[in-house]
Structure formats: structure tokens, C-alpha cells
Amino acid sequence: MSATSFGTVAPGGFGTGVSDTVALIGRHLRHLRRTPEKIIAVTLTPVAMVGILGYLFASVVSVQGTAQYHDYVMGGVFAQVALSCVGVAALGVSADLRTGLIDRFRSLPMARSTVLVSHTAADLVTSAVAVVGVSLAGLAVGWRIHKGFLPAALGFVLILAFAYAMLWLGALLGMVMRNAEAINGVSALVLVIFSFLSSSFMPLTGLPTWLRTVAEWNPVSVVSAACRQLWGNAPAAAHGSLAVQHPVLLAPILLAAMIGVLMPVSMRVYRTAVVR
């Protein structure tokens, strides 16, 4: 049995878990380098949104409490970038399942969490690129951050944390749905419903009370309001629910809760995910 000596693998542990994750992130980054059109596709839509909302709409829409519409709307566009991560992760994970690659990874002696952790981490790079693209587009139409470095950076951290939560949601969706067309449909629906049923493009003052409550607690509303406040684009509302008055306080709690639920659930589903 001399053949087995080659296959004897160092005992698993935190160190090997990290090196496995790094190796798999390397795989995804190679993918990104070889299919730049993926990053472009993810970046282009929100950049176009900045142009449309910040430039075309800005001439006719004004929101109380903000000098310019693009000041109001940028937080919402960033949140939309995060929302679109659902589709990115779902398509990636489902493709790996369909081709049997996940089966191969699962037959290797590595930690169960490694595959999804590296998938979502690498996809976060894609969203970071999109965030940079949107920032540049925002600056071009006249959007500015009026606060110091720390609150400004915290705003971007919130956006990326939201993106990270959505990537885990996407991973879960990808494992459950498998079919690329179905995934595209569902993630487009998520994008439309969550971004429009929120305060990201308009204040919610005109909505009936029950719908308004739903929209106010929508993570998109909370995160975009928090960013507006952190960047000095618009102050938090003085009246209304907790979500509206204290978005900066609430956003980290809400995002931590989302990641705290979505991560373990996805990993649990991964454990039993099989090629069908």
C-alpha cells in the first residue's frame, strides 16, 4: 500500500482551513480575470442607474431635506449593488453544483465551510469593484461625501456587509434552485421588490401605514438611510419608527443578524446538496 503514503494529508485544523479557502479564492479570482464581462455586467447596471437617477431624474425630483436628488439617491444605488449580489452568488454556486465540482470538493478531506466561504469572499471582490465604479459615477454627476474619513468608511463597510449577506442568500438560492434561468428570474424579482419597496429612491411618506412599516424595516431602506446619514447626504428622519430614526445604529445589528442566520443555514444546505 505504498500508494496511500502520497495521499496522507496533514491533519485538518484552522491553518489548513485558511489555506484551503485561500486556494479556492484564487480559483474564483482567476475566473474573474478570465471573464471580465462578468464584473462589467455587475458594475454597468448600477452605474447606469446613477446616470439615470442622478442626472435625468435630478432635474425633476427633489427630496425635502436634501440639496440635490443625487445626494439622496446614491445610498440607494449602493444598496442596489449589494442586492444584485444575490444573483451573482446563486449563479456561481449552482454552476459548480451542476458540473459536479462541488461533489469533487466534498469528496476531499477539507472543512465543509471552505467552498461557500471562498465563493462568497471572491464574489465580494466583484461587488467591491462595482462599488468603486458606482462611486466614480456618483462623483461625476456631482455627489459628494460631506463627512470625515471614519463615518465615510463606515458607510462603505455597511454596503459591503449588506453585499456579503446577500451573497450568502444567493449561495442558498443557488443550491436550492440549480436552474440558471429560474435563478435569474428570482434574483431580478428580489432586486426590483426590495429596492423599490424601500426609501432608497423616494421617502416613504406617501405610503399607507402598514406598507410603510414594511418598507421602513426593509434592510435596503435601513442601509441606504444609514449611508446617507454617515456621508452627510441627508439626516435621519426626526419622526417615525426606530428604523427611520436610528438607521446608523440599526444597520449593523440588522446585517449581523442576517449574516448570522444565512451563513449557518447555507452551510447546512450545502452539507446535503447533491447533484440532481
Binding site: 500508494a3 495521499g7 494529508v9 480559483r27
Partner: protein, 337 residues
Amino acid sequence: MDIAIQASGLGKRYGDHQALAGVDLEVAAGTVLGLLGPNGAGKTTTVRMLATLLEPDSGRATVAGFDIVRQQREVRRRIGLAGQYAAVDGLLTGRENLELLGTLLHLGRKGARSRASELLARFELEGAAEKPVQTYSGGMRRRLDLASALIAAPSVLFLDEPTTGLDPASRQVLWQMVREQVGQGVTVLLTTQYLEEADFLADRILVIDKGQVLAEGTPDELKRKVGEEWLEVGLADADGLEAALAALAKVAVASPTVDRASRRISVQLADGMGAITAAAAALEGTGVEVVDFALRRPSLDDVFFHLTGRETDQGQDASDASDASATTHDKRAKENQ
């Protein structure tokens, strides 16, 4: 002899579909077991269980001496798996695919690199090593897939329909590569729908259907279950049938059977060349025109049909030939009762 894979009473249920209903199997180290069965027989389920991808509802199994449920990590260190879908990353090059798996198996950067080069050379993929796998042909993908399964030099190799969809030449190449592994002491569990493949590669064969084991043995043992070899004579026209039948009846050990539509006579002879010579002489004496005179032995197709009452998918593809052989099956089956 060492036992590399041992399973007893493996069962799995999906809703009200019993995918596996108590499968027992045993594979000696360094041998090949062919798992033969139609689609949905439970072949893939069995492999997935033994490769620790799926937990059984009932029963237990050990692979390379470790329990597939309680010692998954130990099992995973010692197995290689090549599934039905060539599980390779299309965007990476062949070399990158292998190096990634080497890294994940902790061979070290250097170790992963040299192992990748070694396997690329052995699987004749050096020329395409730096090209993205999505540009590979089906045969090349399968070869890379098999190479991927061998990164850690596993002692047990699972191959789930390794040549499905390959052209005959690529299939031959892959078979040789599997044989090479067996020559080096690797234990192989192979599922296939191709009887030819099982015949060529497997030391022992397990025929399963509807999640149950129908028969087990060496290819020869299984063929013997169906019957001994027989002489098959084809005539140019139907007029000569009676004369030929009468002539052959004299040299046969059992009464010949005849298929009038295809003008063929099947007859069981005594052992030895003498019987064949006598049959030839007897036919010659009648003066009928003989277009086919051949000894036939049961193929695994016959075994499969005999056990499951179904043609293999492969058999269904060949139209005329399979019709003719189906009538032979019927006759053989009757004879054996």
C-alpha cells in the same frame, strides 16, 4: 486477501422511492468491481454513499478500512472520485485544475506542481496543459477528470460511468489508463451501463436493479449462468432449413432451435473440435447454402437480459442486431429452464 471496500445492507430512501434496498458488496484490494445496471438501478447512489457524499439510511460500509459515516475524513484521504459529469473547471487550464486539487490535498506548492506535471504527462494532456479546459474535447475532459481523481494517489478509486458519451477510441484510451491504475495496486469500483466495459475492466461484476443485487460473480461465472457456447448457422434461403435441421440434430446434444424469419439455427454441441467438424460435414452433406457458421458464447448482454428481463440501453441502440439477438435470448432462456 485485504478487503478494500465492504458494505452490508446499504439502504436509501427518497420519499416513497426506495433507491437502495440493502446492497451488500465486497471488493478485494487491487481488484476491480463492476457495478452493472440500468438507469435508476442505484449504481450512482451506491458510489455516492461509499465516497461519503451521501449517508445511508440503513446498513454500514467501510472503505480502505474506515467507516463511511463515522470516519469520513479518513475515507476522503484515501479515495478518488470521478463522477458522471467530468467535474473539471472549464475556466481554468488543465494544469491549474490539477494544481488546485493538489493544493487542497495539501501536497504543498511544490508537491502540487510536480504531481500536476506528472499526471498531465501520464494522461497525454501536456500539449493542452496551458489551455482552458472549456476548449477540451470530451475525451480530454474525461482524462483530466480521471487525473484529478488520482491527485492524492488514492488507494480506492470510484468511477461513475467513466466513459458515458465518449467515442470508441477515447474509451479505449481511458480503459487502458484505468488498467494502469489497477496494475499499480489501486482498488476500483466502476459503474457502467456498457457490458463491454465491465467485461474488459472488471474482475468481478455485481448486477443491480431497483436497488437490489441480482447477481454477483466474475464475468465468466455470470455468462455460464446463462448457458454454454453454441453454434449458430445462418442459411441463404428458407428452403434448406428442414434439411439443415435434420443434419444438425444428429450431431447436437440438445435439439436445435430455429428462427425461421432470419433463417438461423442455434444448436448446442458436445465439447471439442470433433463436434464442430461433424456439424460442418453434416451441413456440407445436405448441400444447403450456408452464409454464417459461428460459435457464439453468451455476452454480458445476455446475462443482463437474463437477470433483469431488460435490454441494456446499448442494446436498444443497435436496431437490427438487437432484434436478432433478442430472439436468440428468448430461445436461450427457454432452453435453460
